[in-house]
């Protein structure tokens, strides 16, 4: 069935299809052509979702569709990249406008043994056999923006960590947008071998403080048995920009996965985890802290598939919304019939600082096994007057009290970050963002 499309949606669709065709012409590899072709077919079918699509009811695309984002263009020189770097030691990798920037990144040949890192473009060039890079394409194409990504992507990251390797330094991935109306379409694939351990930090920023750019990311993370992965993602683009990220995480037996998403920037940002627990005794934690100011729409969503027994999942998602910001949380815990002894918990707490802000929450459970412990909780409201009073009674100024409470509220999900310096850095970023609120 062909969906009804508005003229604007149709124009945007035609524009991106045309871009896809241009890219397809340059492609040499028949396998890749097939991947793109398939994605294109799916995307035409799916088209851009509208408010009538259940999953897109609250995140409106009209702002995105009104502008056409192109992958062409000349990147601005990046002068002050140090400003975006954290103070603790990391392995630094930089992408500028969606393309890997060798000059700004650390020397790849210096990477610790057992770590293979290359840009996605290089991986496409180097390999004739690409099946491994697109093994889960059927799952990926279920999301319209992932289909769009699959037909347009040109670069990204491939990271492989061999079995039993523990990376002591975190890998820091900086994505810079330097030009307005630019489309960075990124494909990231991370596979972590058995019993290996890695911390991955991703940061999305715009060089300009104004002008819309767009980032569309598909990230796939595969964890081998007993592997441990920690992911920290900060989205700090300017408030005109757009951010779409579909993460697909596949966990094998007894692996541990932790992800933290901090949403600060973008006009419309939508971050989704699709997490598949394909082995027994898997643990994971998915947290997010989202700030919405002005006319921002902040969408954070998770879909956790408990497919095998004895899985353990925890989630905490917090939103602070001001002005006319719209917050969207959508979480699904799906427990398969086989996944007995599952323990799943999902919490969503929201603080509304203005009468015009809106919060839409859908914490969902879909359960087919009987011996499970699953729960979700959600609460929305303003700051408890008693809490303010309590602090005031202890001699704290009201303005400070408000700020303290708001900050303490928002930072809680970041406590999941294990390493102290990284945690402190993440919390500083969030606290800084909170200073832009109208709190006295």
């Amino acid at each position: 069935m062909v969906k009804k499309r508005s003229p604007i949606a149709q124009q945007a669709l035609d524009f991106y299809l045309q871009q896809a065709q241009q890219i397809a012409q340059t492609s040499q590899n028949p396998f890749l052509s097939k991947v793109r072709q398939q994605a294109q077919e799916r995307f035409v079918e799916q088209a851009f979702p509208t408010a009538k699509d259940e999953d897109w009811k609250y995140s409106k695309l009209s702002g995105f569709l009104a502008q056409h984002f192109s992958q062409q263009g000349i990147s601005q020189p990046v002068a002050n990249w140090q400003a975006w770097m954290p103070s603790f030691p990391v392995i630094k990798l930089v992408w500028v406008d969606g393309h890997f920037c060798e000059t700004l990144s650390d020397e790849l040949s210096q990477l610790p043994a057992g770590v293979l890192l290359e840009s996605f473009a290089d991986a496409l060039q180097a390999n004739t056999e690409l099946g491994g890079l697109f093994a889960n394409q059927d799952t990926v194409l279920a999301e319209p923006f992932a289909s769009l990504n699959s037909m347009l992507f040109q670069d990204g990251m491939v990271l492989e960590v061999a079995a039993n390797v523990t990376l002591s330094l975190p890998i820091f991935v900086l994505h810079l947008q330097t030009q307005p109306l630019h489309h960075s379409v990124l494909r990231q694939r991370v596979s972590v071998g058995e019993n290996a351990e890695v911390t991955l930090i991703e940061r999305y920023v715009s060089l300009q403080s104004q002008g819309a750019g767009c980032v569309n990311v598909v990230t796939e993370i595969e964890l081998g048995k007993h592997a441990r992965v920690q992911q920290i993602l900060l989205q700090e683009q300017n408030r005109d920009s757009f951010y779409f990220n579909n993460q697909f995480i596949y966990q094998a037996e007894a692996s541990q996965f932790t992800t933290f998403y901090g949403a600060i920037g973008s006009q419309l940002s939508r971050h989704q985890n699709h997490l598949f627990m394909d082995g027994e005794q898997i643990e994971n934690q998915q947290n997010s802290a989202c700030i919405g100011l002005g006319a921002q729409t902040v969408d954070s969503r998770t879909c956790t598939h408990h497919n095998q027994a004895k899985g353990f999942s925890r989630q905490l998602h917090k939103f602070v919304l001001e002005d006319q910001a719209i917050g969207v949380f959508d979480g699904m815990i799906r427990v398969d019939q086989q996944a007995q002894k599952t323990d799943g918990q999902m919490d969503n707490k929201n603080l509304l600082l203005s009468d015009f802000a809106k919060m839409n929450t859908k914490p969902k459970l879909e359960i087919y096994a009987d011996d499970v412990k699953c729960s979700h909780g959600s609460a929305s409201g303003q700051i408890d007057k008693n809490q303010i009073f309590y602090l005031q009674a202890r001699g704290i100024h009201k303005a400070d009290a408000l700020r303290m409470i708001t900050q303490a509220f928002l930072l809680e999900p970041a406590e999941v970050v294990r390493q102290e310096p990284i945690r402190r850095w993440v919390m500083e970023r969030l606290a800084l963002a909170l200073q832009q609120t109208h709190l006295p």
Binding site: E54, Q337, Q340, N350, L352, L353, S354, D355, F356, A357, K358, M359, N360, T361, K362, P363, K364, L365, E366, I367, Y368, A369, D370, D371, V372, K373, C374, S375, H376, G377, S378, A379, S380, G381, Q382
Partner: protein, 498 residues
């Protein structure tokens, strides 16, 4: 509820668990499954404008009612059957149902006097007697409207109620005798274009109950409606309107059942409740439609739109439901909290067994200031069934100081079933305080062990635990209804464990 009474009479000294045990031992499955054979007038299968006109003519309806039906029918034809609920079924063939069926001597709606109880077809009377519904004016302190297929056959205690100015009659009668009230309220809460099944109902509405409680009156007894679908391949499309004027109070109960059939039967009702300033309405349902055979073939498809509006300040509307029957349930009793300080409540126990599919919940729409709502939903799934809670809490920007508390608990009995929770929470006002909690669990082995250790059989222990799980909701039901609900639960659970 009279059955419940009988149970009490027969076993005065026995405890709750012994009773449930007795019922379990009887091993009967759906005791309301008998069929009544009487002379009935049933329309040919199919739906078209002629049928709509014929139903209206049969009921001797005024022009405005026919216009309403035709408008709804025209709109219905432009709509598509919704399939978003978490229930799988083949699209229905609406031409394969008959849209009107009535026992022959009871179809004189409007011309019957208040003594219509005497004019009831004896077979129909027998059916209601077997179901334990008191359709004669007897001592039971409850007024009953008994509906058999497309028409209301009896409404008791009307004279007594009339003394208070309370109108309690069938919907068809209300159309004849109180057209101004029906016209004023019909379609105001659930407009004919609201959804697919509401539109269908508006077009072919059979019968239903009309209740009007005048200002300041506290209804002295419970009002009750019993719905019975008898004819095969007949749809029942009742329309119920309940109006509580300023400062009044009424408690309304409904029950339902249908004979055992081998094809799906359709039940698409619309209930509209209007609660004015300072008034309170308590609306309780024990739904026990035929769930079908082992595979839920032939059960009732229960697609119902129930909605109430708290129009004035301090109005209160409370929905309580015990859902055990139907092959598929698709039902969301809702509250529009328009008046300041108004209160909406929803208490629900939904039990599914075999291959039953229930997608039920509520909508609380907060418009007025300081409106409060409470949702307590208990879902039990057994066998190969799917039980879904789907609910929406919406706080509009105008709802300063609104409060909502939601608790959805699911229990799974067996590993072939599913329990799902899909809440939608939309908050547009910062002063609102919204809390939502949901848990899923099963009957713990240690709980069972603990009971068995104390000499309670496994079956009894399960009944105890299940009843304890549902207590919060059952305590909201009127006493006799609560009893009936507990029994139903026990029967419906039969064979799901052990």
């Amino acid at each position: 509820m009279a059955e419940a009474k009988q149970m009490i009479d027969l076993t005065p000294a026995q405890s709750e668990y012994e009773e449930i045990n007795q019922i379990l031992q009887k091993k009967f499955n759906y005791r309301e499954g008998f069929e009544t054979k009487t002379h009935v007038e049933t329309f040919e299968k199919g739906i078209n404008e002629q049928v709509v006109r014929a139903i209206s003519a049969k009921k001797n309806e005024p022009q405005w009612m026919l216009d309403f039906r035709l408008k709804a029918f025209a709109h219905w034809q432009t709509m598509r059957e919704p399939h978003w609920a978490k229930a799988k079924y083949a699209p229905l063939d609406y031409q394969d149902y008959s849209y009107y069926s009535a026992p022959e001597c009871g179809n004189c709606a409007g011309s019957c006097g208040t003594d219509d109880a005497q004019a009831i077809d004896p077979e129909v009377a027998k059916a209601f007697a077997a179901l334990g519904v008191p359709i004669g004016d007897n001592d039971a302190n409850v007024a009953v409207d008994a509906i058999f297929d497309s028409i209301s056959v009896s409404t008791t205690k009307r004279e007594e109620l009339a003394k208070y100015g309370i109108i309690f009659c069938s919907f068809s009668e209300a159309v004849q005798e109180h057209p101004e009230l029906v016209q004023k309220y019909m379609g105001t809460v659930v407009p004919y274009y609201d959804n697919y099944f509401a539109a269908l109902n508006s077009a072919v509405a059979s019968d239903g109950t009309f209740v009007y409680v005048p200002p300041g009156v506290r209804c002295p007894m419970d009002l009750s409606t019993y719905f019975r679908i008898n004819e095969a391949k007949t749809g029942q499309f009742e329309r119920t309107i309940l109006v509580a004027e300023k400062g009044s109070y009424v408690s309304y109960l409904e029950g339902c059942s249908a004979p055992v059939r081998d094809t799906y039967q359709l039940h698409a009702a619309v209930v509209e409740v209007i609660v004015h300033e300072d008034a309170e309405v308590k609306y309780s349902t024990v739904q026990n439609w035929y769930p079908g055979d082992e595979n839920c073939e032939g059960g009732i498809l229960n697609f119902v739109t129930k909605r109430g509006i708290c129009e004035g300040r301090n109005a209160k509307l409370s929905w309580t439901q015990a859902e055990t029957g139907s092959a598929i349930t698709w039902k969301y009793p809702s509250c529009i909290l328009k008046g300041d300080n108004s209160i909406g409540e929803f208490y629900s126990v939904a039990l599914t067994n075999r291959r039953q599919q229930a997608d039920t919940g509520t909508k609380m729409i907060h418009i007025g200031k300081n409106t409060r709502s409470t949702i307590i939903s208990k879902g039990l799934s057994a066998g190969k069934s799917d039980n879904t809670y789907r609910g929406e809490v919406k706080i509009l920007a105008s709802a300063e100081g609104a409060r909502n508390f939601t608790q959805c608990d699911s229990m799974l009995i067996g590993d072939q079933c599913g329990a799902h929770t899909f809440p939608y929470i939309e908050v547009e006002n910062a002063t609102a305080q919204i809390e939502h909690e949901a848990t899923t669990s099963r009957i713990g082995e240690d709980q069972l062990f603990y009971c068995q250790q104390r000499g309670i059989s496994e079956q009894d222990a399960i009944s105890m635990i299940v009843n304890g799980f549902c207590k919060e909701v059952f305590s909201e039901l009127p006493l006799e209804f609560a009893q009936e609900a507990e029994e139903l639960l026990a029967i419906s659970l039969e064979g799901s464990v052990g």
